[in-house]
Point group: C2
Chain length 206, copies 2
């Protein structure tokens, strides 16, 4: 039952907040009442930042990440290795890899993975531009860093089928036991793969 | 470590969202990316509703609830019983009681409870106007519906000390076993009170 709000302004704010994923009516009300206790600038800054984000957002023409300009800071950086392209599902995975400081190449944000259940086929994803980039002489390697789900594997295979025609090395990120994890707490599929894909030992660490 | 955002617009929106209680950086990023996938009107409506709420909010001059006008819909309703005032901590408790459809009197929103730990004394709460209303001839009963915490009990006692000088009946909401709960799962304090405050049996239900 919709509760009786004493104010239409409040009711409206709560309704808009509940459109966000994972935010129910009680949480939305708590957030709205929190904003009412803050200086007006806090609510203004929040509202403006959300509107501005959606209205002024741009996507990099090369890698399709969210960007403030036509070409993102990574794609426009001459110090990055432009011969390697890491394919990710969305910007969050790209940020996660950037945070490791272990990768110096470029990215390609697919915008999802193939999912017949959700009606997402190759046509709904940014694949054409990836194939065009892979066909360029300067591209040496395409790293597939998609999630290890059925959808991710399907997408990996689809990309691989097309990319093997191009003159590029196709690799995928290593799956294995996370650093610091116990072997007997690791699921069987991961443990099995980590044995099959064992690597030459190079001394301390890996 | 602060991650590297590919867009200042996105970084800004995430930072503003993380100011909200219970929303961390990962959740904020998820919300921002969700808004980017929606039509621009959704983000616009959310942003506007939040700004408008904070800028145009008004409080009822009688009961201090959030209201769109000088006097809220409850206080300005002649069909409500103006001789009874229910004292609540905040608007959420008021909404919870309204939703029961069991109460036809007015409310008084204190705006908190006495909490020396948080530096909230009687002066920080809307008490003076409650005492003024209680002193009016038309007021018969003041119902204390504050939380059953140390702070709530302290506030109850403080209000009672002053209100007993006025010609009003002071009552408090019944504490007891929630309807449908098992006796042996109820905490001892609640069960103890429900025996001490037992009521005359009136046949089926209660």
């Amino acid at each position: 039952m919709e509760p009786s709000y004493s104010s239409l302004l409040l009711q409206n704010a709560v309704q808009e907040l509940t459109r966000l994923p994972g935010i129910g009516r009680k949480t939305a009300l708590r957030l709205a009442l929190h904003l009412l206790r803050q200086p007006a600038e806090i609510a203004k800054a929040l509202g403006d930042s959300v509107i501005k984000l959606r209205e002024e957002v741009r996507y990099c023409r090369n890698c399709h990440t969210i960007s403030d300009s036509d070409l993102c800071v990574i794609c426009s950086n001459p110090k990055r290795d432009h011969s390697t392209i890491c394919v990710v599902e969305d910007i969050r995975d790209m940020m996660a890899i950037e945070n490791t400081s272990q990768y110096n190449g470029l990215y390609h944000v697919l915008g999802g993975v193939i999912s017949p259940m959700e009606g997402i086929g190759p046509g709904e994803l940014k694949m054409e531009s990836l194939f065009n980039k892979a066909a360029l002489l300067e591209t040496n390697e395409v790293i597939l860093a998609l999630p290890s789900t059925v959808e991710g594997d399907t997408t990996n295979f689809y990309l691989y089928k097309t990319l093997r025609n191009a003159e590029v090395t196709v690799t995928t990120i290593a799956r294995g036991i996370p650093v610091g994890d116990e072997l007997d707490y690791t699921d069987e599929i991961t443990l099995g793969r980590s044995i099959l894909n064992r690597q030459a030992y190079h001394g301390m660490g890996s």
